[in-house]
Amino acid sequence: MVLDIIDVILTKYNYIIYISLMTLGFYGMIGKSNLIKKLIGMSVFQYAIFLFYISIADVEGGIAPILVEGEVTYTNPLPHVLILTAIVVAVSTLAVGLSLVIRIYREFGSVDENKILMRLKDD
């Protein structure tokens, strides 16, 4: 039983890592009231998924997918390419998020969600 668990941990550690990171990020997004921290959580959340993608691309004994002579195993390049795109998307989202936070700060004078909501109610 214990061995089984250890076995799972050893063979599927990539899943465990990405799920822990995702949960962490999710907590940041939902649990923190500071908008910047929410954004950080969001980034962690996104990057956890990227890690998942990268980890599934790995082929045992594979090398970087650059053409070489002879019989070799390559890792799967496709997820890398996909994640490259996804990273750009993530950066853009972060940029939009940050610019929103800046404007929110200038409008409400705070980046704390509770304070902002209080100020909205006062209107």
Binding site: I49, A86, V96, L100
Partner: protein
């Protein structure tokens, strides 16, 4: 040359949008006012391309375009069949009409920002068209994010509260996009392909695997957030209420519909109905949740005084109808859902345009201030009347046709509870619209002086959508015939 180009329409649809979006700043350097015309022009092109594609799809059945000449499943494929070419037409119609409408409306509500607004506007439209047209799930994700990012930014240019609304929308939207990305990852992990047609070939042998189920669950949850399916709708009311009216009109008419389209594509094309009937009975769950959303949205709408907020809650309710139709999974209900996608786009966009017109001409945002507007802006209010009647489902409007089909679907499945839900919620819909009617048409006229219609460029799209939703009921049979062409392939047993 023309014939040459007609083979490349799928990509031209997207490229025209991309070029259009990034040329907007340059045009803005010449003259800011030109931007809105430019946006109308680009969306007009996209509209025509969509129409032609729809026509071609009906003729041919399925058009496949290989990006860079790479054969799928290696390359990205734009696959157009009757389903998505129809949605293309719906979305591009709304994009075009809102672009024309927005010229005056946006200028008034958000002055001095034309360049950014229209760049994002075209990007949003193009992103949505991209989601619809693509036959590659990862490409779908990218387009989804392009349009979402544009949408966050567009929502944020509204009033003071819109910033917070946009931020929440962004957080929810990102969670949804991540779920979708993760779901795609699981499907890729299991099948090794990203092409939709390929997926639908490779999935059946893997039906029993838990990883497939996880992927599906993630995708459905992610898409439910994007479509604002109850109870994941929390971003929607604020986002629609506080964004500029033209943007609310666009988002309500198109963005949620695109999400619904992906849901339909996922359930009926990629996974296939077989999977849900045999392996995972998720439909029961979706249909109950959708029914709860129908009732919840309608009741919340009754309680609102803010006109746009009322419409936003009404959207949640109507999206519930579409989802219910999808989950009933028979011909009537599915045809009804597709029709309701079309109908709801027309009506809800039209209604938000009316809300924008009220803000434009009188600065009115609340239902209680609407007294006697029927005398001041008769044509706009006539459009409102038609749209609202269609929303309630009064014949012969398109709203009636689609709701009736979904009702037939519910009867056919023997789900009497949903029959009651559909019928009861029509009455609730009548309640919240009638509240407005009473004020508008029979209220005391407080606006004796200065009664004036909105400018023609705003009035025309509003009226056009209203008239379309009135006539849509008459086109419904034709559309249903077209849907049947597609449905006969995805629903076992045929019509």
């Amino acid at each position: 040359m023309i014939e040459e180009l007609s083979n490349h329409l799928p990509i031209l649809l997207i490229v025209s949008g991309l070029i259009g979006a990034f040329l907007t700043p340059l045009i803005g350097l010449i003259r800011k006012e030109l931007c809105s015309f430019w946006a109308s022009f680009i969306t007009l092109i996209q509209f025509f391309i969509s129409i032609i594609l729809f026509y071609q799809a009906i003729q041919v059945g399925r058009i496949s375009y290989w990006l860079g000449g790479w054969e799928p499943p290696w390359g990205i494929e734009y696959a157009i069949d009757i389903l998505n070419s129809f949605i293309l037409v719906v979305v591009s119609t709304i994009c075009l009409s809102v672009a024309i409408y927005g010229r005056k409306s946006l200028l008034k509500e958000v002055p001095e920002k034309e360049v950014q607004l229209y760049t994002l506007y075209i990007l949003l439209c193009t992103g949505m068209l991209g989601i619809i047209i693509t036959g590659d799930v990862f490409n779908l994700y990218v387009f989804l994010e392009i349009s979402s990012l544009a949408a966050y930014a567009l929502v944020a240019v509204g009033d003071r509260n819109s910033l917070v609304a946009s931020f929440n929308y962004m957080i929810m939207g990102t969670v949804s996009a991540c779920f979708i990305l993760l779901g795609i990852g699981y499907l890729y992990l299991m099948t090794g392909t990203l092409n939709m047609a390929d997926l639908s070939r490779l999935l059946p042998p893997l039906y029993g695997r838990p990883a497939i189920l996880i992927g599906l669950a993630l995708l459905i949850v992610g898409l439910s957030i994007k479509t604002a399916l109850f109870p994941l709708h929390t971003w929607l009311p604020d986002a629609y209420t506080h964004s500029p009216s033209a943007i609310s009109a666009l988002l309500s008419g198109t963005f949620t519909k695109v999400g619904i389209y992906v849901l339909i594509r996922l359930i009926y094309s990629i996974f296939g109905l077989e999977y849900f009937l045999r392996n995972v009975d998720i439909f029961v769950f979706i249909s109950w949740v959708a029914s709860a959303g129908i009732i919840f949205g309608a009741i919340m709408a009754i309680a609102q005084d803010d006109f746009k907020r009322m419409l936003a809650y009404s959207s949640i309710s109507q999206i519930g109808y579409i989802a219910l139709g999808i989950s009933l999974a028979n011909n009537f209900a599915l045809a009804g859902s597709l029709l309701h996608i079309f109908g709801h786009s027309l009506m809800k966009t039209g209604l938000f345009m009316v809300a924008g017109a009220l803000i434009y001409s009188k600065g009115i945002k609340r239902v209680s201030q609407l007294e006697g507007m029927g005398n001041v802006m008769p044509l706009t209010m006539a459009a409102f009347l038609i749209g609202a009647l269609s929303m309630i489902g009064i014949p012969p409007t398109i709203g009636f046709a689609s709701k009736y089909l979904i009702l037939l679907g519910a009867v056919e499945s023997g789900e009497w509870v949903f029959v009651v839900v559909i019928l009861f919620s029509s009455l609730l819909t009548a309640v919240y619209f009638w509240k407005v009617f009473e004020k508008v048409f029979f209220g005391e006229n407080k606006w004796k002086k200065g009664g004036k219609e909105i400018p023609l460029s705003m009035l025309l799209p509003t009226m056009a959508l209203a008239i379309l939703s009135l006539l849509g009921g008459f086109f419904a049979p034709v559309l249903i015939k077209v849907f049947e062409l597609w449905m006969s392939g995805v629903i076992p047993g045929g019509v």
